[in-house]
Symmetry: C2
């Protein structure tokens, strides 16, 4: 493997459940968002909007909604406790929403991965929040109206922050590869 | 913006419609695939399989199926001619398939973007092929049985190669950003 700086960022990227309390600087955040804006899109439509929540008020309001999101039924109490705080102490939340169908769901995912890697290159880690994508904005019309443009659907949402103290080893790669 | 090497790779990445005829070396290809294997997945399931088509025979067989894929009705002949060869002269095709539902479609998209950026860091460019993802493997059971493991669904497919001669300027960024 060719171990250049880009690969080092890709391999350093980790999903975090708890972030450090340090804020993310404006220049770092602009760098991360710029990476997202340069992801590929079908037919180069770039059919997306990036909602970046970083203010104390924004995080508190979003955090209240996120914490109040009902969990799917049947999850044991111990598992819920092990999940920790849904907001993960993160100083930044980025939501990518898109419009006009077609490849938009894929486009928004590609943008998020660009932001994950750009962040990792700056020592900032991330964590996809599937509940935010799947449930929060479908079940909270008021929050959606406030954070997401009219006519857009949320396809990707994640937390960003400096790494917290508790991180498990990333473990083995389980994917299979066949060369033909 | 912080313009480190990772950001340079992210900004250098371009979608190509025509590739150069140079092959991709084994070490470069291994680097690209490794990047894909290190993308995040929901619950760290890594529920995916990477099919890497690079042999002459594999490309010829896949190319025949890809070129024979019917276009959606209503596309003008001039537009079809402007599309060029569906195989784009690419020396490598990578298909990411996944199993078990959940976040698997998103996971596979994130893996593909990792591979796009790793490739760009090596001067190798890429091009998502939505028709491959949406139509080819749904309509060609024989090809799917040959290339994709039983029980897996294709969620991402793209061409990789060194840049060909004709590339348009990438143009303005159209996404909108709101900081809250």
């Amino acid at each position: 493997m060719i171990n250049n700086e880009t690969m080092q960022s890709i391999l350093a990227r980790r999903s975090y459940k708890v972030f450090d309390s340090r804020p993310i600087g404006d220049e770092e955040l602009e760098t991360i968002v710029t990476a997202g804006l340069y992801a590929p899109t079908g037919m180069n439509r770039q059919p997306w909007h990036f909602t970046v929540i970083k203010s104390k008020e924004g995080l508190e309001k979003f955090g209240e909604a996120r914490r109040n999101l009902p969990l799917p039924p049947g999850i044991p109490a111990a598992a819920i406790a092990a999940m920790g705080d849904p907001m993960r102490n993160a100083p930044v939340v980025i939501i990518v929403s898109g419009k006009d169908g077609g490849t938009t769901p894929q486009d928004c995912c590609l943008a998020m991965e660009n932001m994950f890697i750009a962040a990792a290159s700056l020592g900032i880690m991330s964590g996809w929040d599937h509940a935010m994508v799947m449930d929060l904005f479908k079940n909270n019309a008021e929050l959606k109206a406030e954070l997401i443009p009219e006519g857009y659907t949320v396809y990707a949402g994640a937390f960003f922050g400096y790494p917290g103290p508790t991180v498990k080893d990333r473990g083995e790669r389980k994917g299979t590869v066949e060369y033909i």
